[in-house]
Symmetry: C2
Subunit: 470 residues, 2 copies
Amino acid sequence: MAKAPVLTPRADDFPRWYQDLINKAELADNGPVRGTMVIRPYGYGLWERMQAEMDTRIKETGTQNAYFPLLIPQSYFVKEADHVEGFAPELAVVTHGGGKELEEPAVVRPTSEMIINDYFAKWVQSYRDLPLLINQWANVVRWELRPRLFLRTTEFLWQEGHTAHATYEDARDFAAHIHRKVYEDFMVNVLAMDVVPGRKTVKERFAGAINTLTLEGMMGDGKALQLATSHELGQNFAKAFNTQYLSKEGKQELVWQTSWGSTTRMIGALVMTHGDDNGLRVPPRLAQIQVVVLAIKGDDAVLAKVRELGDRLKAAGIRVQVDDRTDVPFGRRAVDWELKGVPVRIEIGPRDLENGTAMVARRIPGGKEPVGIESLVELLPGILEDDQALLLKQSRERRESRTAEVSTVEEAVEAAASGWARIPWAALGASGEARLAEQSVTVRCLVAEDGSVPDDEDAPGNVAIVARAY
Amino acid sequence: MAKAPVLTPRADDFPRWYQDLINKAELADNGPVRGTMVIRPYGYGLWERMQAEMDTRIKETGTQNAYFPLLIPQSYFVKEADHVEGFAPELAVVTHGGGKELEEPAVVRPTSEMIINDYFAKWVQSYRDLPLLINQWANVVRWELRPRLFLRTTEFLWQEGHTAHATYEDARDFAAHIHRKVYEDFMVNVLAMDVVPGRKTVKERFAGAINTLTLEGMMGDGKALQLATSHELGQNFAKAFNTQYLSKEGKQELVWQTSWGSTTRMIGALVMTHGDDNGLRVPPRLAQIQVVVLAIKGDDAVLAKVRELGDRLKAAGIRVQVDDRTDVPFGRRAVDWELKGVPVRIEIGPRDLENGTAMVARRIPGGKEPVGIESLVELLPGILEDDQALLLKQSRERRESRTAEVSTVEEAVEAAASGWARIPWAALGASGEARLAEQSVTVRCLVAEDGSVPDDEDAPGNVAIVARAY
């Protein structure tokens, strides 16, 4: 008799599988205000690990964390015209405070360029104050009409970096550094996602930017998800806020700026990249629980062994949890850890103790085999690294097998039904991009022939990556 | 000729000294919406260290972090009557979202009992789900008419813990554990503040609580500051949200709850407890920069030495920063590090190199003396621990010397002009408390005769700590 599936199978209904997984793995719930979300402890634990890994990389660039207010006077939202136009439809507005109507309504930040630049203009005086490198971890609100947990929520959590530089080149190089050495490095080496770094077309640029760099990932259904962006802002905001510095040569000059962000959307990406019909699969380097040690029965010797093994694994630097809740049926706990995607389960019962072995279940390749208990401490680090590498390999193979080389708009639309298309930008251009949009297909990014990120939208050999996207 | 003071002296004008210090040490700026604040990188660094130390202690209790939405439907704010009455005057309300007036306005959370309990009611089913121990790090908004940076701001950052338990005793013990083993331990052993743990009177309780536990600190001007609170909520919210569990005996029972919070106000407390006329003094265990190594001149040998010494100190586990900005005058940099309160400055110039010594300036006791460079790595950990202990001792001595034992309301008011008063609660009572309030003096907390926290407001021997407060 076939077991009833725990989740709606991906092949049957991918969006429903996604909702099922988020619900059953206890990652998040819908909030009461439309589009908001409650991030449950297991989901938030993923975010905390993402924050820790990202924060280290961000600080290594010399960037410091700070915190700017949630509420921004509505009048600020007229300063940079493109930026304002981009965000106006999404704003949440506070009109009453302390029981009274406010003289000036306040916008709940949708992003912080408008308020941070106000302070940059005060803090930057001389070339000695540059580069000014600031990041904040914060919540933002963008009114969302078609919400989906983690992917598009009215409130989300993110980091937003904001920097000011003396020259165009410094700003450009910094935006590129964040793009590749912070974001891409984190996504490839921690999230095990085979992301594609590229530049956005003019149409897809951030409101107020002169260039937007992006990382695009292919999800399990072949659609694309934009994972993080890094923007060159040129002098657009510097002009709007009159942010000037006294150069070494004694001249007043406008600064050059960048901004860059990554969000809780990465949790949704994790689910849709590595999840399977049994649940999530968390890359070992990210996992807050890398190994769970389960007592099959509430036998004293078994409980003593799982606790002792837990202590030894912890001492060896492995992030481990002991599951000794033997009042909950073993099968239910095993399914739950599988749903949550913990990379390795070590299961120990009375018979295992007699044999000196434990059943080791590997979530990522799948499968289960007995292993000598005494050899676990030595074996596990290698298993975790192998499984980390396997996830990245599977992600790469999916992208490669589901990406088609095409040369016409029609072929691109067809390919986008099940994956990505690569098409020469010279053959597509802005007019082809507009025709794709009629079919809900977008240019995710432009890449150079050799896979690098083009310095120029119209460089010969540029290839457009085309897909349907979340 | 006397040097012009860097800050307004404390004795001249304490509030202005506080503002001066926050400004010149670059801790924070006022935000554009009244009462909001920008936490600058050096100030935010203090908060990050507080978060790290607190988060570890919170997780050791078995509490898990999660995240609940910023926006709460206005209709939720009718569920627990006392709670609602307490917060109604401070609410910020979003009435427009996505360019339209909302059908139901949303409140920007002033605290999260109202939304978290909605989910607790769903998540708690059986005794097996208890205790449910949740914490979140978040921003909250309470409209503030008399704002002061860090102490009272319209938006502030905090952690808020929310827990549900099977029995009254479990909830009571957990609230007490957070009070003493998390908050007090952190404040005494990291912030070096000699705080007094006690319980609030009925008048001073949190809106909706059956008991509020508090930690009160004496500031440099003798006033009191409430530093963190831990509340027993009884079954008030359980009744409002109908949060029930199936007991082992198969009966439906209401849960017992706690909530507890600590905020960016602790940064203001740090300033007012340890600051002096030259600036802040940061306790070494908190400091994100424990030691700064300054190159006096841009001499090659000097620069090489400060960098090498910085590397060695870092390798020894000391949080160190190298200041080799020799294009900024040395005196200005020294004053700046003094303002910022970095515990130890190591100053090295060409003459020091010849002697094999460095000038070591200790911010906490004050004073400066030459020390052999080679012995620094060995000496510094002891110096930092001594200075940590000295700050706590100074904080205790101030409280002891400025606290008077009194027996009448009049004496209590007189003592509160420059410090604290201790008065038997039996002699004061609710009527005496009301008379104190007419003089802007409040009962900060009740303590038992032996210094412990009373289980009962009216236990014989209870002493009221009475003061003016921030």
